[in-house]
């Protein structure tokens, strides 16, 4: 469940809100992409298929980087987000924590090093990423803007829960 951006040259993408934003950057090919995803029901460590939408979103981004001649072993990640900013009940295994657990497990499994991270907490974040330099800029959002962002994210989360996202299958 995520949006996908992968470009070869200079690129800025502003994103707001709460979900995790892993930013990939290949330091030699100088290509990068940003992925903004949210797993509304998190992922269960005992059933890897429960994280399939998150894995799929990450694979789409990695594939675009490979097409830009990025070597897989050179990919690095910067991850931001998963703050508890929605007006939903907080719990130790809540949505933000499950998203954090998912991305850590995914990057560890794929042997993609995390070079920068800023996760959790209670504030919304805005992230800008330059795909050319690999530099990510992050700042916290407060006040009315953060509240509006939280409302938008909650609506998005409910919409995503209702959607069926699995691909189709054909036998030749």
């Amino acid at each position: 469940v995520g949006s996908l951006r992968a470009l070869g040259l200079f690129f800025w993408t502003p994103f707001r809100g709460r979900a995790l934003r892993p930013v990939y950057y290949g330091p030699v090919a100088r290509a990068g992409g940003m992925n903004h995803f949210l797993l509304p029901d998190g992922a269960n460590a005992n059933d890897p298929t429960s994280a399939r939408y998150g894995i799929n979103a990450m694979e789409l981004l990695i594939n675009e980087l490979l097409k830009l001649n990025v070597q897989r072993r050179r990919i690095q990640a910067k991850i931001f987000g998963a703050g508890h900013v929605l007006k939903i009940r907080e719990s130790l295994d809540g949505v933000p924590q499950r998203n954090i657990d998912f991305i850590r497990r995914f990057l560890d499994t794929e042997r993609i090093p995390i070079v920068t991270e800023d996760l959790g907490g209670y504030r919304s974040r805005r992230v800008l990423f330059s795909a050319q330099s690999g530099v990510a800029y992050m700042r916290y959002l407060d006040g009315a803007y953060a509240a509006r962002t939280a409302d938008e994210e909650l609506a998005y989360l409910e919409k995503m829960r209702a959607r069926k996202l699995d691909g189709d299958a054909t036998l030749f």
Binding site: Y53, I55, L60, R72, T109, G167, D168, A169
Partner: protein, 116 residues
């Protein structure tokens, strides 16, 4: 055998097929899969398309040249959904095309079907 450069994807496929009693061998790209295929026989191959070293289309073509892989089902499991790509897979010798993200029950049903 499942072939995918994303380790998390291989884990999901193995987990899904193990749950119904299949044994799964994993390969991280077409090149490794082809090497394993020289030494082992399989009832089914599930392969990704976009992979480093050797992509899925090249893998299918190469596998179809091996006597033990001429007739077995080979399913492509990929993020690619365009008709042109599917056609390319079909001409290469693939048995079927599944678009990611895959639904575990659906994968089990297709595997059951192609294994007869």
């Amino acid at each position: 055998m499942t072939v995918d450069d994303t380790a998390s994807m291989r884990q999901m496929i193995s987990f899904t097929l193990n749950s119904v009693g299949h044994k799964v061998v994993e390969a991280c790209d077409g090149k490794e899969a082809l090497k394993i295929a020289q030494e082992k026989k399989f009832d089914l191959v599930i392969a990704d398309i976009n992979m480093p070293n050797m992509d899925g289309i090249t893998l299918v073509k190469s596998l179809r040249d091996l006597p033990d892989f001429k007739l077995i089902p080979i399913l492509m499991l990929t993020t690619e959904s365009q008709t042109a790509k599917r056609q390319e897979g079909k001409s290469a010798g693939a048995t079927g095309w599944i678009v990611k993200p895959f639904n575990p029950e659906q994968l089990i049903a297709i595997v059951k079907k192609v294994l007869g």
